[in-house]
């Protein structure tokens, strides 16, 4: 935590932490407490005054079927994104781990989508799936599928899931590959001598041994799908059609900045903060219990 030897007390350490603490208070703690305070207020219809209502905003939210729907939609969305990108990355990492020569070459070609902003990933996919011009709808027509994510809610959902998962594959791949390469070769060789083939070794040795990484990535991917995919939703579907892709983060933004329902939006922010805090705690407990081989 702290060095055994340290410098004598002086005003200097306060000056050194001052910039960080100042920014934290002004842009983090103060806004967060404002959100908490506003979540207990309801503004009147003209925006002239507001009334302290305790938990009424939260009660209203949990009675609101739109909010509950959005909650389940977010859960489905993040589960789908996490599953799709993690399984794809796991398979690729499993193959890359076997490569002796050219492993760096493959890694280079697989990690760069990490650098692409979510909104750009959204733009790329919306172009490929543009109902009138896009390449995929053109080919899908031969299979009798009429693609139009502007009208069809489940197609819109599929599109944002694909775009979000595509961007995240690079990250998962990197962590899976690092985890697999840290497994001692002797374990794998012992299994090979006992006659286990590549698939058997993967499913009975490699996959169980990297389970801490799987758990870690699961948390990271869910956080990603919850918060960082805002750009994808905003660029691709704007939450539509008919709210079919309105996830929680998008709803906070939409109700606050477009609908100007300050109390309701603040209450949603508070719930999201609570979710983030739970996930952060889960992640930190994992770090403490890291498995050693």
């Amino acid at each position: 935590m702290i060095k055994r030897v340290h410098f004598p007390a002086s005003p200097l350490p306060y000056l050194l932490v001052a910039p960080q603490i100042l920014i934290t208070i002004v842009f983090f703690i103060w806004p967060a407490s404002q959100a908490l305070y506003q979540s207990f207020l309801i503004e009147d219809a003209f925006g002239l005054g507001s009334e302290f209502v305790w938990f009424e905003n939260f009660e209203l939210l949990f009675e609101d079927s739109h909010y509950i729907d959005s909650f389940w939609r977010t859960a489905f969305f993040s589960a789908a994104v996490a599953f799709l990108s993690m399984s794809f990355a796991l398979v690729l990492a499993g193959f890359a781990d076997r490569v002796v020569r050219g492993a760096t070459f493959y890694r280079t070609l697989l990690i760069w989508p990490y650098a692409i902003a979510p909104v750009l990933a959204g733009a790329l996919w919306v172009f490929m799936f543009n109902p009138t011009l896009g390449i995929f709808p053109y080919f899908l027509r031969f299979f009798g599928i009429d693609w139009n994510h502007y009208l069809n809610g489940s197609q819109a959902m599929a599109l944002v899931i694909m775009a979000a998962a595509w961007k995240q594959v690079a990250y998962n791949f990197l962590f899976y590959l690092a985890a697999m390469q840290s497994i001692p070769k002797s374990v794998i060789e012992a299994a090979a001598i006992d006659g286990a083939g590549p698939i058997k070794r993967f499913s009975t040795i490699i996959f169980p041994l990297i389970s801490p990484t799987t758990f870690f990535l699961l948390v990271i991917n869910v956080v990603y799908a919850f918060f960082e995919t805002f750009g994808i939703i905003h660029a691709v579907t704007q939450g539509g059609p008919a709210n079919s892709t309105t996830i929680l983060v998008y709803k906070v933004f939409n109700d606050g900045f477009v609908g100007l329902d300050l109390g309701g939006s603040a209450a949603q922010s508070v719930i999201l903060m609570f979710i983030v805090i739970v996930m952060t705690v889960v992640q930190f407990r994992y770090v403490e219990r890291k498995v050693e081989y």
Binding site: P13, I25, L109, Y114, V119, L124
Partner: protein, 283 residues
């Protein structure tokens, strides 16, 4: 490789190449779209092979009005805004995290742990969950439509502080003892010993933070209303909206390409540092 079975090896490479092709397909289609003229880009099926209009589109996108019929800043200005924002965020984060980690590790002073936990809180509050009140603060401070408003609220970083704390804790105490015997004060020790020792960590963190800063979307969208402050990443959304009326996909995809080249270049060019930064900040 444990066993030598050529068929398995061949299959491994084939699957990896297939994976790369699937991952690269959206980028290929984007690149192809940026090499055709706009007449070709409204005829189905769209081309899958590059045309010869790449440099024409590049020039029109960078220095022309961009999309016709919209009032956007020129793309070169957006790239400049993005660069300024990304550099301010990454350098600012590294600077304030370095000095606060130094204070927390090397000094014993009242409220040390209080400060530590205050920094920890920032880890739990991504900008997306507190947008409305943070926006109000920035508006009240008169920082809308400025580089300060774009970067300062994103500068506080718990991950960077934790990482530097970790790095400092691995530096042997004897270094500090000998530095003090030689008469070095805290600042001298920081500048002459700690900074050089954490150089690679700083570089690794810079790569991650530069990408983080460049790719910001929601925050610039709220803070900038003036078109001259638009960043390239947020301009894509406006172009997509305009595309519903007049599709100029060659220009839009060229802009998307320009927006992703700097961070992708950073990742590929500094791959070692990038991997180091990514694995160390998350654990």
């Amino acid at each position: 490789m444990i066993e030598n079975r050529p068929i398995v090896t061949f299959f491994t490479h084939a699957m990896l190449i297939l994976g790369i092709l699937i991952i690269a397909l959206p980028i290929w289609i984007t690149f192809v779209a940026s090499t055709h003229d706009e007449i070709r880009m409204v005829q189905t099926p769209l081309p899958l092979w590059p045309g010869d209009q790449f440099f024409v589109n590049l020039e029109r996108t960078l220095f022309g009005a961009g999309l016709s019929g919209t009032e956007n800043a020129p793309v070169w200005l957006m790239l400049l805004n993005s660069l300024a924002m990304a550099l301010m965020i990454s350098i600012g984060k590294i600077g304030i995290s370095l000095i606060s980690a130094f204070a927390i590790v090397y000094f014993k002073f009242p409220f040390r742990m209080t400060f530590f936990w205050m920094i920890f809180i920032t880890l739990m509050l991504p900008v997306e969950v507190r947008i409305l009140p943070t926006f109000e603060v920035v508006a009240n401070l008169g920082m809308l439509n400025s580089y300060w408003g774009l970067s300062i609220p994103l500068i506080a970083s718990a991950t960077a502080t934790f990482m530097f704390r970790q790095v400092f804790l691995t530096i042997p105490d004897e270094l500090l003892e000998s530095a003090r015997i030689d008469g070095a004060g805290p600042l001298r020790f920081f500048w002459d010993i700690l900074l050089p020792l954490s150089r690679t960590n700083i570089a690794a963190l810079f790569v991650i933070m530069f990408i983080f800063g460049w790719n910001q979307y929601l925050w610039p969208l709220l803070v900038t209303t003036d078109t001259s402050m638009t960043t390239i990443v947020m301009s894509i959304k406006q172009m997509l909206e305009a595309a519903e009326q007049s599709p100029q996909w060659n220009i839009i995809m060229m802009t998307a390409l320009l927006a992703m080249i700097p961070p992708v270049f950073v990742v590929i060019g500094m791959q070692k540092l990038f991997v180091k930064g990514l694995t160390e900040t998350e654990k």
